[in-house]
Every structure is written in structure tokens, then in C-alpha cells.
């Protein structure tokens, strides 16, 4: 399938077909309005057109209007904003009278924030080894959002190149204010910036920290020690020891330089720590040093500014990433381990798949012609590998509908809950 190789220059030619035949505009629009016709003209959906032209503060009455705009403009990127208090005028310019009132809580995890700990790739690159950072991040965040905060309707999306997005769409999440959002974001942030030796500092082992540790432990040896090889060179060892106060670090250095591999060096670190602790040479506030180290290397790194405010834009699912040509597809956190960013289809691949499918069925139809059966027309996305991602998205929509129905029932008093 040489034709499916994606070329960035062909994007303007591919987008019109993608939006016409594949993009799930109905499902997306349905999600963004939550079945409420009063929301559709208050939800910001902004477009970025070729040549970096931004169209902000657009809203669409219904899915057809949305589709028409897509077919007219072929945006390179679609961003989703907040639901505003007032109707959005399609004029687009900023007006201070616009008050955002509702918005999913969103998280953005970008691989570049791991550049000081990942050793396999840098910048825009991503490989199965560093993808493990995303696996760990997704599992930890998904667990915390569900168990600690009680959220249920969570959509995880591959950003199209090297990161993941998360949308929490429960009603009770959508109505949180900026202060509450930033409280969640900071609750989930454990790494400190600035000039600090210890980037992670624990005084106690909070239940959520303990849960995160279990996830990290699943991956630490294989993904962090072996694959990332975080202690494999003297340079990396120095970086590691840079997290320990100068008072102790020589004690660890001696033990760790005696051995060679990351796994051995880590073992030496843990052993030294345990010995020192037995000899009561570790002050109390350092008692979680081993855990702190693991968190430094593996705990999710969030861009919290995205999460903190109600009206921050975030790219919509099913957009095409212009550089990679890949579709920004939803995935299930349960199966993130088996999610391979390399296997995500590019726009050109999808269009090829339609053609292949159509050619095949045409041949079959010829064979079946004598039976004179009328062929059933099937939707284009079902002919392609996009199908399974649309299915995941629709499942998320059904979950939302079920929650909304349950909330209505509780409101009407037909169901008694606490």
C-alpha cells in the first residue's frame, strides 16, 4: 500500500474527502451538546484553517450546520472550547461579555515534558519504549479520576503524534469552576519545578500516591530501568544523584558505580538506602526516598494550565495531525497497553481503505448481480480501520446518555440514592 504513505503537502487535498466521507460529525456534535438544543449555540467550536487562520467562537445549531461548515472550510484543526452563558455570535471577535459556564475537565500529557528522563527519543519522536510513559500516565490518572473523584464518563484520546488527551465529561465535572479545576490539577501533580534537588517530596504515603505507586511498580524495572536505561551511563547516574541532597549522594554514588547496568545500579541504590535506614542515618523526612525516585522517573507530567481553566481550547478527537497525518483517535484506558501509536491510521491510509473496499464490493456485486438483490449502502467509515475508534467514541456517548438518564431519575425521585 505505497499510496497510503502520508505526505504533509497533500493534506489540503485529503481533508475535503476526509470530512465528507469519514469524519463523525454527527456523533461529535451530539457529544458537545449533550442532547440539549439550548447548548448547541453556546458551545465554542473553533477552526484553524490552512495558513494559520483562526476562526474562534463559532457554534453550530445542529450537526448539519457543523458538517456544512466543515465541508466549506476544511479546517486543519478543530478545537473545542467552553459552553458559554450567552449565545455565541458567529462574528468571532472577542467580547468581554462572553462568560464560560461549563466545560469538560481536560488533561494534556505531552511526551516532550518527559525529555529529561526519556533516553530513547527526543522532541517529536515517539517509540514503543517511551510510549510506556503514556501508558503509566493514563493508568494512574484514570484510576485517580474514577476512584478519588468519582468521575465515570472519561474519554481518552491519542493526540495524533506523541501525547494523549483526556476529557472528563460527567455533568458534575463540567460545572466545576476554575478554582476547583486547579485543585484537581494540583492534586494530580506531584513533580515540582524550579531550582530543587528533590523534584518529588513525600511526607506521608497518601492513598492516591500508594495506588499510583502500584502502577509504576508494574513498569518500573522493565520500562524505566531496562528500556529507558536511566542509570546506564555516568551522565545519567549523575542526573539521578542530582535528586539527592549532597550530604548523602556520595554514599550512594560509591555503591552504584561499582556495578554497571541500570538494574544493578538501582538495586545498589535501594540496598544502600535500606542499610542506611537500618543504621538510622536517614532523617525521617527522607524515608520515602526510593518512592520519590520512582515517581520522578515515571509519574505523569501534566500541562496543568490546560486543566486549570474553564475556557482553554483543546483539539477535538478525530482531527488529523498535520505533521503525522494520523487521526486523533479515542482509545480505552483498559487497553492502552496494546495501543500502538504507530498503528493508528493516517488519513491517506483511510481513504485507500475505502477505495479498496469499494473495488472489492463492486466485484462481488457483479457476481451477485444475477440474484438481482439491491445492495445495502453502508457508511464509509465502516469500510475502514476508523470503525473501531468510532465505536469506542459511541460507547462513550452511550455512557453519557445512561448517566444523564440516571441523573434525571434521581432528580425526579424515581431512584433513591444516598
Amino acid at each position: 500500500m505505497s499510496a497510503s504513505l502520508y505526505n504533509e503537502d497533500s493534506l489540503p487535498d485529503l481533508l475535503p474527502i476526509y470530512y465528507k466521507r469519514l469524519f463523525p460529525h454527527t456523533a461529535l456534535h451530539k457529544w458537545l451538546c449533550y442532547g440539549d438544543p439550548n447548548v448547541s449555540n453556546r458551545r465554542e467550536i473553533s477552526f484553524t484553517l490552512v495558513g494559520d487562520i483562526y476562526l474562534r467562537y463559532q457554534s453550530f445549531e445542529n450537526a448539519e450546520d457543523f458538517a456544512q461548515a466543515l465541508h466549506k472550510r476544511f479546517p486543519v484543526k478543530i478545537d473545542i472550547g467552553a459552553i458559554y452563558k450567552q449565545r455565541l455570535e458567529s462574528s468571532g471577535s472577542y467580547s468581554s461579555s462572553k462568560t464560560p459556564v461549563e466545560r469538560e475537565i481536560v488533561f494534556d500529557i505531552d511526551m516532550t515534558d518527559y525529555d529529561d528522563v526519556r533516553t530513547c527519543c527526543t522532541g517529536a519522536g515517539v517509540c514503543p519504549k517511551c510510549w510506556k510513559f503514556m501508558v503509566i500516565a493514563c493508568k494512574i490518572l484514570d484510576g485517580a479520576l474514577r476512584e478519588d473523584f468519582g468521575f465515570e464518563n472519561i474519554l481518552w484520546v491519542f493526540s495524533g503524534r506523541r501525547g494523549i488527551h483526556c476529557w472528563v465529561a460527567d455533568k458534575k465535572a463540567r460545572i466545576l469552576d476554575d478554582n476547583q479545576r486547579s485543585a484537581i490539577a494540583e492534586y494530580l501533580t506531584l513533580l515540582r519545578g524550579g531550582l530543587v534537588v528533590r523534584k518529588v517530596k513525600f511526607f506521608n504515603m497518601h492513598a492516591a500516591t500508594e495506588r499510583a505507586l502500584k502502577v509504576i511498580d508494574e513498569y518500573f524495572e522493565k520500562s524505566i530501568l531496562v528500556e529507558q536505561d536511566i542509570l546506564g551511563t555516568y551522565e545519567r547516574l549523575d542526573a539521578f544523584l542530582g535528586n539527592i541532597d549532597e550530604g548523602f549522594s556520595p554514599l550512594f554514588r560509591d555503591a552504584m558505580t561499582k556495578v554497571q547496568t541500570s538494574v544493578e545500579r538501582w538495586k545498589a541504590f535501594v540496598n544502600t538506602f535500606q542499610t542506611l535506614q537500618r543504621e538510622q542515618k536517614i532523617p525521617k523526612h527522607y524515608r520515602y526516598m526510593v518512592e520519590e525516585m520512582k515517581f520522578y522517573y515515571a509519574y505523569p507530567r501534566l500541562d496543568i494550565n490546560v486543566t486549570k481553566s474553564l475556557n482553554h481550547l483543546l483539539k477535538a478527537p478525530f482531527c488529523i495531525h498535520p505533521k503525522s497525518g494520523k487521526v486523533s483517535v479515542p482509545f480505552k484506558p483498559k487497553f492502552i497497553e496494546h495501543f500502538d501509536p504507530d498503528a493508528v491510521p493516517t488519513v491517506s491510509q483511510l481513504l485507500d481503505e475505502i477505495n479498496t473496499y469499494d473495488a472489492k464490493t463492486k466485484a462481488q456485486e457483479k457476481d451477485l448481480a444475477e440474484n438481482s438483490q439491491t445492495s445495502v449502502k453502508i457508511k464509509d467509515y465502516k469500510k475502514t480501520s476508523l470503525l473501531k475508534y468510532v465505536t469506542i467514541f459511541c460507547e462513550f456517548l452511550r455512557g453519557l446518555q445512561a448517566s444523564a438518564a440516571r441523573n434525571r431519575a434521581i432528580k425526579n425521585g424515581t431512584v433513591m440514592e444516598y
Binding site: 494559520d52 472577542y94 468581554s96 515534558d113 529529561d116 476512584e147 478519588d148 473523584f149 468519582g150 468521575f151 458534575k172 466545576l176 478554582n179 476547583q180 486547579s182 485543585a183 484537581i184 494540583e186 492534586y187 501533580t189 513533580l191 515540582r192 519545578g193 524550579g194 531550582l195 530543587v196 534537588v197 528533590r198 523534584k199 511526607f203 506521608n204 504515603m205 497518601h206 492513598a207 492516591a208 500516591t209 500508594e210 541532597d245 549532597e246 507530567r301 501534566l302 500541562d303 496543568i304 494550565n305
Partner: protein
């Protein structure tokens, strides 16, 4: 002070309820507007007294007392006594007494709170200042209450917080013990289950156990919850008042109220207008000599790493704007650095809008003011970010090292280190100024731009003397 019926009620004699009914508790949620008659003179007097109270509270922290610490409370109490505001000292006692003096104190507190609502609902900035002070005042009184006093308060204001059952507490023992910050005696602590949204400050720092959207807080933290309720109610009320302020056109008190904020000449640093622009070529020299440590660090990082994340760009960019870096120069300055690491196209696409926005040239076209110390100290700093207050966010040993590098003596550095350890970040910054300039600042540091100006003034003064 009920606006809707103001004109009608003003001349009507009001049958007052007994004070014990009206003002039953030292701590109040101020839910109903008072309907008593008072003289203009008294009106002015109690309003000014409350203004003094709120200012005293405001100033206690910059004097070097950690917010909400015992030391902070003592400072406020002493200052109130010095200012002759005995009634407020009384309300801090936590006694909820029943003497006539107690009732008079509560009445003055109640009425003056409502008078100040009228004065402080008038702009976003005023509302915010008033809200912060009132929240602190609320906290001071609430935490002084005994167990009994708290119970009475909860009953009076119909708060339905009840502790979780012993069974639930035992079944969650491991989680509660591990997750509750500062917990000493598990057996003797009562836990309350509240929506996490009511205790954001505890959630933020992972200080409490969370499960399914509920926070399990120890009774000692109940104040956080009630305070956040109070904040929500008061904030909503102030907005409500602000929309109806035109109804309040009484000429006897109008001038006092609309001018009230002018009486407030707090220490907030305001950016001077029309000051001289700075030459971008001087920035390196300025950073070395005149920037506070936070901005100096931002500058050095930008020069060495050619990048800052969003918050960093805002913090540093607005600081530079306020010291007089013009838009064109700022654009060039950022572009020259950033393009050492990325191509021009990427810079234009990703960052130019940002800089224009900062200068109020696009979008909302607002004139953003540079961040104050309080804002910088309370911001959170993630990995790879460099904004924030060095004295607050850095490791104390690195602060020490850094200030020594900047020419502070070892003794001086130790003094700074001690201040940092005690949580006096702004005082530490003031000391740093003192050691690097050889001159103490009267009022401490409240704003990075204030630091810059003070430092420039010293230099100007010195060169002036030479001539």
C-alpha cells in the same frame, strides 16, 4: 439596608428584636441584611473601624507572620488593641459571651460588614480585596471557637455536617491514617465526609483522603469547609450588590462609600504610568544588578535554555513590560532567544500572539498588570517551569548557594535561610535586597517591580550624589 424596600422602611420605626436573637454568635455568616436604624455619625464610625480592622489583618502577613499562624493571630490582636478596637479583640476571644459588651461588639461587626459590602462591591479589584480580608477575619473567629461554640454555630446556620460512623471510620483506617496530613490521634479524631469541591485547598495539597468525589476531613479542618461556603455566599452577594449599586444613591452616605477605597491606601504596589522605557541592551546588566532573584533567575534561564513555558512567559513578560520594555523590543527580545532553539515560523505561529496579548494588542485588549509577590508565591511550579518565588519554591540550600553567588555574605545567607525556613519569603527577599544593595527597605518587598524600582532609585541616588 434592604435596597428593594429602602425608601419605604427608612422612616418607619423598627421594632428591634432582642440583641441575643439578632446576634447570637461571635461568628456570623451575615445572611440577613440588618434592619436597624443608626445615626450617620455612627454609620461612618463603625465603617471606618472595620476598615481599620481589615487593614490590620492585611498587614499582619507582610510583617513577617505566616498566614493563619498563632504568631499572625497574636500580631493582629496586638495591633487591634493598639488601635483601640477592643470590640474586635473581644470577638477574637472565642468566648461567645452574653454580656452587653459582647452583643454590642457583634452588632457593630454585623452592621459594619454590611456597610462595607456597599463600599467594596463596586469593582472586581475591590471585591477581591474585601473578600480575602473577610475570609481571614472569619477564619480568625471560627478557629477560636471551642468544640461547643462550633456546634452552636453549625446548628444556628443549619449546617448539616455530621461525623462519619465509627464503623466507616474503622473500615477506612489505613487510608485515613495514611492520607490525612497532620493527623496525630486517629482514635480521638472525628472525620467528616464532604464534597471535595468544598475543601479545594486541602485537595490541592493531597492533605486529605478522597473517595468517589468526597473528601474525608478531620474536625480540625472543618473551618476550611465553612469558610469556602462563606466565600461562595459572600462572593455571590457582592456581585448581586454590584448590579444594584445605582439604587443606593443616598447623598448622605454616597460620597463616603464611593470614596471608601481611596481611604484604603494599602501597600499594594501599582505600576507607574509614563515611566521611561528601558533599552533591551541593558537587560543583562539590569538582571544582574536590579532584578529580584525570581526575575534574575527567569532571565538567566531564558538566556541559557532559550525557552520558558506559558506561566514563565507571562510572569517574566509582564515584569519586563512593567519595567518599561516596549512591545517591539519585547518581541525582538523573545524572538532572538526562542529562535535559537526553534525556527522562526514556529515562533511566529506559537508565541507572537501570546506576546501581543500580553501588551493588550489583541484579544481582550486588557492591560495586564505584572504579578505581585503574593501571586507569584501562591502559584504552582511544575517540572520544567522556572517562575515562582525562589524563596518559596526552591530548596533552601540552593537558595543559600545562589544568594552567596550573588554576593551575599555567608552570615547574610544564613540569615536569609532562616527566614525562608520560617516561611517568611518576602522578608527573605527584603534581606537579599539589603545585602546586595547595602540598604534596608522600609516596607519590605511586595512586588518584583517594586524591587526593581527601589534598586534603580538607589543607583540613581548614588550617581546623583557623585555629580
Amino acid at each position: 439596608m434592604d435596597f428593594t424596600s429602602y425608601r419605604r422602611t427608612v422612616r418607619k420605626a423598627i421594632a428591634e428584636e432582642p440583641l441575643s436573637e439578632l446576634y447570637p454568635h461571635d461568628v456570623s455568616m451575615y445572611r440577613e441584611s440588618p434592619k436597624s436604624e443608626i445615626s450617620i455619625l455612627e454609620f461612618e464610625q463603625i465603617a471606618l473601624d472595620r476598615l481599620k480592622l481589615l487593614r490590620i489583618i492585611e498587614q499582619a502577613a507582610p510583617k513577617g507572620n505566616r498566614l493563619y499562624s498563632d504568631q499572625w493571630k497574636t500580631c493582629i490582636k496586638d495591633d487591634l488593641a493598639k488601635a483601640g478596637l477592643k470590640k474586635y479583640v473581644r470577638l477574637m476571644g472565642g468566648t461567645s459571651g452574653t454580656s452587653d459588651l459582647d452583643y454590642q461588639a457583634r452588632k457593630a461587626d454585623y452592621l459594619s460588614h454590611f456597610i462595607l459590602r456597599l463600599a467594596y462591591c463596586r469593582s472586581e479589584q475591590l471585591r477581591r480585596w474585601f473578600l480575602s480580608r473577610e475570609l481571614e477575619w472569619f477564619w480568625i473567629r471560627f478557629t477560636a471557637q471551642s468544640r461547643e461554640g462550633v456546634k452552636n454555630f453549625l446548628r444556628l446556620y443549619k449546617f448539616s455536617y455530621t461525623p462519619i460512623s465509627e464503623e466507616e471510620k474503622v473500615s477506612l483506617r489505613h487510608e485515613l491514617e495514611a492520607s490525612t496530613a497532620g493527623l496525630i490521634l486517629f482514635e480521638e479524631t472525628e472525620f467528616f465526609k464532604v464534597p471535595f469541591t468544598e475543601v479545594c485547598s486541602l485537595v490541592r495539597g493531597r492533605k486529605v483522603f478522597l473517595k468517589a468525589g468526597f473528601a474525608y476531613i478531620p474536625s480540625s479542618e472543618l473551618v476550611v469547609c465553612i469558610q469556602s461556603k462563606f466565600r461562595a455566599e459572600l462572593s455571590e452577594e457582592l456581585t448581586w450588590y454590584s448590579h444594584r449599586i445605582h439604587l443606593f444613591d443616598d447623598e448622605r452616605i454616597g460620597p463616603l462609600l464611593s470614596n471608601f477605597h481611596n481611604l484604603h491606601t494599602g501597600q499594594n504596589y501599582r505600576v507607574r504610568e509614563n515611566h521611561e522605557s528601558v533599552d533591551p541592551a541593558d537587560l543583562d546588566a539590569y538582571a544582574k544588578k536590579h532584578f529580584p532573584l525570581c526575575m534574575k533567575h527567569m532571565h538567566e534561564v531564558l538566556r541559557s535554555e532559550h525557552h520558558h513555558k506559558h506561566q514563565g512567559r507571562l510572569t517574566y513578560g509582564l515584569f519586563l513590560k512593567a519595567i518599561g520594555l516596549l512591545y517591539e523590543d519585547a518581541l525582538k527580545f523573545w524572538r532572538d532567544e526562542f529562535t535559537k532553539k526553534m525556527d522562526l515560523n514556529q515562533f511566529e505561529k506559537g508565541y507572537v500572539y501570546n506576546i501581543k496579548h500580553m501588551y493588550g494588542l489583541v484579544g481582550k485588549r486588557a492591560s495586564y498588570s505584572p504579578y505581585s509577590c503574593v501571586k507569584i508565591i501562591t502559584s504552582s511550579v511544575g517540572p520544567g517551569e522556572h517562575h515562582g518565588c525562589p524563596f518559596k519554591h526552591w530548596d533552601v540550600n540552593l537558595v543559600k548557594q545562589k544568594v552567596i553567588e550573588c554576593g551575599v555574605s555567608v552570615d547574610g545567607a544564613n540569615e536569609i535561610k532562616q527566614l525562608v525556613s520560617d516561611g517568611h519569603y518576602q522578608l527573605a527577599c527584603g534581606k537579599y535586597f539589603e545585602y546586595t544593595h547595602g540598604k534596608a527597605l522600609g516596607n519590605g518587598i511586595n512586588h518584583p517591580n517594586q524591587y526593581f524600582e527601589e534598586s534603580m532609585n538607589i543607583e540613581k541616588g548614588a550617581s546623583g550624589n557623585k555629580k
